[in-house]
Structure formats: structure tokens, C-alpha cells
Amino acid sequence: MNEFVGRALLRREDAHLLRGEARFIDDVPEPDGTLHLGFVLSPHAHARILEVDTAAAAALPGIQAVLTGADIAAHVQPIVAEVEIEGYRRHGRDVVARDLVRFVGEAVAVVVAEDPYVAQDAIELVEVSYEPLAASIDMEATTAADAPRVHEAVPGNLVFEGRFATEGFDEAFAAAPHVLKERFKSGRVGGVPLEPRGCLAVPEPGGALTFYTSTQIPHMLRTAVAKYIGCPESRLRVVVPEVGGGFGTKAQIYPEEFVTAALARHFRRPVKWIQDRREELITDIHSRDHIYEVEVAFDGEGLVQALRSRVRTNAGAYSTLPFGCTLETTGGARMIVGPYRITNYAYVAQAVVTHTGPVGAYRGVAQPSCYMAIEGMMDRIARHLDIDPAEVRLRNMVPTAELPWTNVVGVRYDTGSYQESLRAAMEAIDYEGFRAGQPADRLVDGKYRGIGICSFTEVSGTGAPGWRARGLVRLPGFDTGLVRVEPSGEVTAFVSHAHAGQGHYTTFAQVVADALGVDFADVTIIEGDTAAVPYGTGTFASRSAVTGGGALIRAATKVRDKMRRIAAHILEAAVEDVVFEAGRAHVAGVEGHGVDMRRIAETAYAMNELTLPEGEDFGLEETDFYDPPLVTMANASHIARVAVDAEDGRVEIEAYAVVHDCGRLINPMIVDGQIHGGVAQGIGEALMEEFVYDDEGQIQNATLLDYLLPTAEDIPDITLGHIESPTIDAVGGFKGVGEGGVIGAVPAVLNAVGDALSGLGIEIATKPLRPSLLAGEIRKVRDGSAS
């Protein structure tokens, strides 16, 4: 039955957010006597800690304690990312540095205060003496023979290297008539959720601990915190309040979380830490600091014959939990083939460590950058052969008729609409019309006007096999649904996810209502509390609809089967003759002969005169642990139309169209919202966002005055269309959608600017495209041609 799935139902979560009644981490009531933490951060990128003098800070009224790295080590084990993949070199991290600091912003001491203002006062009084050491900041130079070493355990600062080549690659490459080569450099950015992170650890009677934290992965976080602070996992309850945006930034387990939990146990008092924006920008995971060197060999029709890539990602100073530092590297190298029929492929993928902030999995992971590379090459092929860029893509795409299809690195594309989505997006933005009116020099009304495409496949709903393929042997992959019909006949469903604005209370209720054949209004969703919800993997990597939706459908189906058996028993009918409709079960074809949900539920709970069928257990709840296949592949095409001001170098996005295919839509309104938000982040990444380190490893823009986020005036209206190609590999037919917006936007905007400036011979192979960069390039060409 499909009554609620597919409808743009308004969100249940809105009212309390709109009234200011929602409780985010800093809104969770603080028990009396709560202590507040402050972290002393290293001002050096690489230095030996000689001495930490805590006396002045400790003497400040209102300070409970000042703890050094050595003090903290007594409570928290060094953390180690458990990546098991050939070519990876393990290294540990003290959650508060003891001997060496390895990036600006690494914690060297912790102050414990009665009040957050006093904590900040004490931070200034902690005196740390350092012996500054030479630092490796540049991601290419870091692997030079004489570069300063980041970790003893990582020789040459090469923390991971993976290689791959198809059989006969070199011959295939050599046989192609045309070869183009480019080096793409992707700037370092971050998720920068509007709400910084924070946590509150509250000791409970009997040695238990309730840990409130702004996370996307409550269960994995519980396991890790329990392990590293030495707390029985059964005594640790992780509760996720409202989360003000995650984007992967909060799908990490951070040092402060271990410290906060450990100190609450140590002091036997509630302990709280709320991050400020500066800390957020400096210490939260960064992402996308990548270089792609790509060589593409193709024939005269623009068909790719072979692709070679060298992918290098900057891991920063430490591998992070729980994904380690190889996700971007393996992702970039493996996903670059996208929707194209590329059968000869070779890569070298490297992750390097540097004395910069640790990186992690920000929305899209390596996909915005690897599509920057491959989609940039598609445009270059088009320009080289003088074929339209859309046509080059259409020729290379795997046609729908050939799906399912397994790509060159072994990933199965079950369903999709690669050519269809591109054609539909072209239609939506009047691609042909624009091209027809576009002069060769691209100059229209004083501005360079161009159009750019990104067609991509989006890895979503990764299950255990998908994580294993990328070396994450301890990442579960499954998620869990527990569906319970209460004695009243209403439904409570528990799911092992944690939202940060995605509207799970609405969408999962739609899924459960349909799976059970009950009213949407009767379904309540609960998530984000490890005491209430069975174990699961959590919310990141575009997976909740696939894994949580699948688990809930499977659990609900089991409940429904049981209800059917009970109904059959009550109605004295054969089980297979019982059908559900509008919250009632009846014998097929005999509508009058039925029983309502409530009576079935009462029967299950032994609350009426009826009995259960022979051998049937009491209660009406079922759990299902759903591990989806390797991945579920969504796809989309984005097209941006831009105007580049020849003088001031500013890029204006004049039109933007997306045609997306994430399989069966649960709630189109929410899907559209995900795409809008992703596109905005992608536009920010393409045009203005970047963390900048100087040669000494000082971060140059650790405020929102200097790390620019796009505003309402920077983001255009978006024309959005959908194609639905339900997956045949995962339960429910859903594919993930969380990351698609950002993945498509980055290359589409870059390619549009590249098209706009193609008349000048300017190639776009870097981001962000700040006005200073573009105006400078344009000036170079013009000055050159003038002289």
C-alpha cells in the first residue's frame, strides 16, 4: 500500500522549532553543580611541549582543576582509527597532547570551571612552553625526503597508498588517438554547521553515565567512548538532542567527547562543554583538500578509452574516528568513473599527513572533487574535439537499457537514468537555446556567460560490504528498526538514526504507516537515544532512507504478518485471506467481516477476552537489522548558467537546474530541501569557501568574517525535477539523497565558469573561484593580448 510515501507531507518537527521550544545541546537543562570545560589550544603547527604551568589558572576563583595531557591520559586511552586496508599506516592520538602538538588548535590542556566565562579566563592563564619545530604544511611537499615527519609511525608522511589497474590498461591507454591531462586542486572546506558542537555528561546513580552530545552516530560513539574511557558500554547512555546541522562534521567522534565523559566520571559531577565558532572552524574536521592528476585517453567521437588518475588527499595531522583518513582517498579514486562507461582505469591513491587540522567526512566526501576532475575532463574533451559537452557526456554514459551494470571497480549500478536526467536538466534550463545564442568569445552584455554540467552517480546507503571494500572493517553498515504496535493500536517505531534537520520524524512515519497499513498520524518515531533504540550505524553518507527505511519496512512487515495471523485467528479465516485496509483487517472480498487494529493489539497484549493463535507470543513488536547491499547508486544532472564579470571577477549564477534520481521518493518536499541545501553548500565551496593555512600552519580565517558562507543573495533559485528509478537491490526502492546537492553543484559551477572563460583560453582546475583569482586570470590574458 502506498498512501503516505511519495507525498509532500509537512513536517512534524517544525512547530517546536518555530516556537523556539526545541532543545539543542546547549539547551539541555544543566543539573546543579555542572562543571564547564575549556580547552587550551596549541598556537603552533608542530612543537614539542616543554612545560605546562597550570598554577595561575588553577588559582583562579571558580576553577575546579586544570589538567594537562598527562593528567587526561590517566582517564582516556590514546585513540586509534581502525582502518584495515593494504597500504594504511596506523597511528594513535592522545586526546589531549602530551609531548608533541601537530596542528594549530590541538588541545594541550583542559580547564574545569564552575562557569563557561571563567573557563575562558583560565585558558588565558595556562602557560605552555613549546619548542617550535619545522612543520609540513603543503600536501605535495610533505612527502619530500627531508620533510618534517608528522608521526614516527608514518614514514615519509604517506599514511595510505592504494593502487589499481585493469588488465591491459597501458595498451588500452596507448591505443587511443587523443590524450588530455589536467591537474585539479580542490580547496579545503568544512561542513560548518550553524550550531557548533557540544556535550554534557551526567553521572547517574550506580556508576552509569548519560551522555548528551550533538552527534549523527550515537551508537558508534557510545562504543568508542566506552572503550577509550574504560566505562562499561551497558552503563553508558548516549542521548542526541536536536542537532543544528551535521553534514558529516558531527559524524565523527572527537577528543572533547572522550574528555567530557571521562571527567564526569572522575569528578562525579555533570560536565559540559560547548564549542565556540573559532574552535569549530579550527578543530572540527575539514575536507576536500585534494589534488587529482587525471589523464584521459579518448577517440575521435569523444568516447573515453582509458582513464588514469593520481589522487592525493590531505589527511591533516591525525586519522579521525570512526572513518580514519582513507575515505576521501578511496572514495575519490573509486567514484571518479561516475555514470560513464569507463572500462580501462588505473589509479594511484594516496593520503598524506601534514601539520594541519584533521580531515573527515564532510557531505559528499570525495565526490565533489572527483567529479570536478572527471566532469572537467568531459568539458576538455568536448572543447578539444569541438563537440558539445552535453553530447560527450551522453555518448559516454551507461544507457539505462544496459543497467544493471557493474563499473570498473566492481560497484553495481542497479537502476538509474543517466542520459534521461541530463536531457531533462538540459530541457529545464533551455540548454540548446542558450548555446544557440552564445558567441564564441562568450561575451554577452559585457559579461562572460557560460553554462556548465555535472552528471554524476552518488554512492548512498552503503552497507557493510561497501565499508569493507574501503577498509572500514569495524563500521557496522546495518541499521535497525523496531516497530511496536501499542495496546491502543497506535504505533511507536524506533530507528537507529539521528537527525540533524532531515525530517526523520516525518519521513520514517510515512514509511512505517504504509508498511503497516495504518494512519500516518498514529505513528511516532523515536531515535537518537541508545537506551531506547537498538544498535545501528547512524546518519551520514546518504544512508538513512535506505538503511533505516529498509529496516523499518522489514520490521513492520514482520509485525504485520503477526497481526495478520492474529486477525485470521479472530476471524476464523485463512491467514492468506486477510487483508489490511485503513487501519482494519478483513477477509478479502468480505469487508464486513473484519477486526480493527486496536482489537488485534489488545489481543496481542492479552487485554481482552480473545486468545492468541496457538504458539504465538504476546506483544506486538518486531526488530529488524537491515544491512543493505554494497551501495545504492543514485544519480543526477546539475546545470549552472553563470555570468563572470570581466572586471571585478565576480561570478553570478543566473540559472540553475537539477534533475535528480534517488529512486522512490518518500517525501518530495524534504528531498527538494536536501538538494537546495546541498547546492548552496556546493556553490559556497565553488566560489568562496576555503580554509587557508600559511606556511607556518597558522589558519588564516578562523572566524565567519573570514571563512565566508554563502547568504541568501549568493544562492539562486533552483529549478528541480525528479526521475524515479527505484532501486531493485534495497528494500523499499529508496536511494539516498543527502549529498547529491553538493556533489553536483561544485563541478557544475566550475564548468560553467570554465565555459564562460573558454573564449579566453582560461582553464578552470581549482576552487574556490574567488573574484581575485578570476579577475587576475582574465587580466593576464587581456594584458597579454594587448601587448
Partner: protein
């Protein structure tokens, strides 16, 4: 030790008293002394707009004011926008247009829009975008917020006539 000062604020129409250090930010006093946690903190340096409140009727960043310096002022926070159980027309428009995802920016957006539509009841999209450009939303991509403001403006105009 610096002395605490007694202050009085009229918050959402109610007189509230607090005794605070001069350095306490209005945002912290509203949230932690007066328990009004709907006002959010996103940057504490005046860029994000999550902390926006109405101060004597005009929008202001509560992270850029010391509570002692606005002693005696009238403050409206998100909690004071609504008329009881009903959502205001602006809140309703946000709901209907899916103009919030995580909702962290929402209180600041609502306060900003409240002031904006009172001053400019019939704005075009460019004016709406300009009015919103001082409030960061990292989730929605703004399009739905712009649509919500457009719809709220219409609703308020119709209610006014």
C-alpha cells in the same frame, strides 16, 4: 572581582530581573539566566544572525550586546513572537514552505523577517534576499525561506486589509 549589576529587562512583555556581571552577553542572559533558549548562538561575533532578537522594536544581535548596557530595554525573543497556540503567519509560512531543516537559524530568521515585513510589507524577491543576507542558514539553501517570506508578506497584507 568585578561587581555584578542589577538589571531589569522587559522580555516578551514581562518584566524580568537579573543580577549579572557586566561582561555577560545578552544572549547568555536570555538563555541561561532567564531560561529563554530559543535564541541561539552560532558565532558570537555578529555574523550568523542566529542570536537575533528585537531590541526596543528593532532587530539586534544579542551576542553583540552586554545585558547591562541594555538595562531597561524591551526585548522580544522567538518565544514572544507567537500569539498563544497558533503559529504566527510568518511561522506558518515557514512551516508550509519547508523553510527550516535543523531549525537552528530559524529563531533569528523569524525575528529578522518580523521586523522586515513590518517595514516593507510588499517586498520583491531581491529585497527579501537582501533582508535575509545577514542571517546564515547552512541547511536550506534559502530558496524556501524566500518563498516563505513572500507568502507571509501576502498573508499579512491580506490580514491587514
Amino acid at each position: 572581582m568585578i561587581e555584578k549589576l542589577d538589571i531589569t529587562l522587559i522580555v516578551n512583555g514581562r518584566e524580568r530581573h537579573a543580577r549579572v556581571e557586566p561582561r555577560r552577553l545578552l544572549a547568555d542572559v536570555l538563555r541561561h539566566e532567564l531560561g529563554l533558549k530559543g535564541t541561539h548562538i552560532g558565532c558570537e561575533h555578529g555574523v550568523c544572525g542566529a542570536c537575533t532578537v528585537l531590541l526596543d522594536g528593532r532587530s539586534a544581535r544579542s551576542c553583540l550586546h552586554f545585558a547591562v548596557a541594555v538595562d531597561g530595554a524591551e526585548i522580544t525573543t522567538v518565544e514572544g513572537l507567537g500569539g498563544g497556540d497558533e503559529l504566527t503567519p510568518i511561522q506558518q509560512a515557514f512551516h508550509r514552505n519547508h523553510a527550516l531543516q535543523c531549525g537552528y537559524c530559524t529563531p533569528g530568521m523569524l525575528v529578522t523577517v518580523q521586523e522586515f515585513l513590518a517595514r516593507e510589507p510588499d517586498p520583491d524577491d531581491a529585497a527579501i534576499r537582501r533582508a535575509l543576507s545577514n542571517n546564515i542558514c547552512r541547511c536550506t539553501g534559502y530558496a524556501n525561506i524566500v518563498a516563505a517570506v513572500r507568502e507571509a508578506a501576502r498573508a499579512l497584507r491580506e490580514a491587514g486589509t
